[in-house]
């Protein structure tokens, strides 16, 4: 969904989420933040993408200018 079914974007998205997962281990040590923050960011990103995806489809269906 995040890659919008584009196979070339998939590795980039996977890389980004891998960075979040690896970075979450460093969070307590470097910034003294709980490692679960990475999960919150991931969830927020997925929800935001879903909302954006819906908005684009809604834009196309209503004949307006869809977001790109």
């Amino acid at each position: 969904m995040l890659a919008n079914y584009n196979v070339w974007i998939t590795p980039l998205v996977a890389f980004f989420f891998a960075c979040l997962n690896v970075g979450s281990i460093q969070l307590p040590m470097m910034l003294e933040l709980d490692s679960s923050l990475s999960g919150v960011i991931q969830g927020s990103l997925v929800l935001a993408t879903l909302a954006l995806h819906s908005w684009r489809i809604h834009g196309k269906m209503s004949g307006g200018t869809p977001a790109t």
């Binding site: 990475s38 919150v40 929800l47 879903l50 909302a51 995806h53």
Partner: protein, 326 residues
């Protein structure tokens, strides 16, 4: 060896089942309206954390419960909004929210971990608590237990005995027909999702302020949300049957504690985990009971036939299928 006192055993079952009953009833209401709120597990943790922190900061338990209910309502509203108005998969959004709210609870509640805070005090009902056996089980509990018991009856009565309950069921079964009758399915689904979310939020608060007082990582409520989802199916989307499933699960959990004393050679973790596969096994048995061959076999066995008839339930026809106003 641990002695088995039936009064203590069943009182423990009733007390421990209160949050599971509330979460199960909340999900039953939501699913009856046609929306699957898969985020229960995370919502329970987030509302448990919110209830504990608010109660600790304000020294007001009631405020903790209100805040937890609002948190549950907000998460349920997000699931419903994404499904009803953004046409997104309820399962995908619910699953993402499960993980997100769980991590959010751990992140925000990190600094409140392992602190001593307020908790709900017992509230024995005068006279009723003196009834032999039953009095100690049902009337020597706290207000949350009475509330959960009352909610079982209220949910059943509301769903099956009121015109509004009929509207709720019609929206979950056939939203197009409801729309033709002048009911707004989207508004109804949104409203009942939030109502269900409020109950799930209260379930979380019941954990951190009563059943397992305090906040920590792990809190002890992990996995209960998934069990509540299973119990809705176990109960065939009927609040009374679903609540009975919650008491069965609680019974298995309490028996696990007793078994630790009886069988010390078996690791304690086995008894802590056992209720979960046992519930899955029960669900499997119930699923097999729906098969035509089993139904045919039960035709010749009257007792089995009545048991199967009691256990059977029908899925709301439009469950998980958002209403499209073409």
């Amino acid at each position: 060896m641990t002695e088995l006192d039936l009064t203590i055993l069943f009182a423990g079952v009733v007390a421990g089942a209160a949050p599971i009953v509330l979460a199960t009833l909340g999900e039953t209401v939501t699913e009856k309206a046609g929306i699957i709120n898969l985020s229960l597990d995370g919502t329970i943790l987030l509302s448990a954390m919110a209830a504990f922190v608010v109660a600790l900061k304000t020294n007001n338990i009631l405020l903790g419960f209100v805040f937890a209910a609002v948190v549950g309502g907000i998460v349920a509203a997000i699931v419903a909004f994404f499904s009803i108005y953004l046409n997104q998969s309820q399962v995908a959004v619910g699953f993402v929210l499960t993980l997100m709210t769980r991590d959010l609870a751990y992140f925000l509640g990190n600094s409140y971990s392992r602190l001593q805070g307020p908790q709900v005090v017992p509230f024995p009902v005068p006279l009723l608590k003196d009834i032999p056996f039953l009095g100690q089980i049902f009337f020597n509990q706290n207000l949350l237990v009475y509330f959960s018991l009352g909610m079982i009856v209220f949910c059943w009565w509301y769903m099956y005995r009121t015109p509004l309950g009929l509207q709720l069921r019609s929206v979950g079964e056939n939203p197009r027909a409801s729309y033709a009758r002048g009911i707004n399915p989207k508004r109804q689904q949104m409203m009942y999702s939030i109502c269900g979310g409020l109950l799930v939020g209260l379930a979380g608060a019941t954990f951190s302020l009563s059943v397992k007082p305090g906040w920590g990582r792990p809190q002890g409520a992990e996995g209960v949300g998934w069990i509540a989802l299973v119990l809705v199916i176990f109960g065939g989307w009927n609040p009374i049957k679903a609540a009975m499933g919650a008491y069965l699960f609680s019974f298995l959990q309490v028996m696990g504690i007793y078994c630790q004393g009886w069988l010390p050679t078996i690791p304690a973790q086995v008894f802590q985990v056992a209720p979960f596969p046992l519930m899955i096994f029960t669900l499997l048995v119930m699923s097999l009971a729906q098969k035509e061959s089993v139904q045919n076999w039960a035709e010749d066995h009257m007792r089995m036939k009545s048991i199967l008839a009691f256990l059977s339930g029908s899925v709301p026809t439009s469950l998980g299928k958002p209403f499209r106003q073409d």
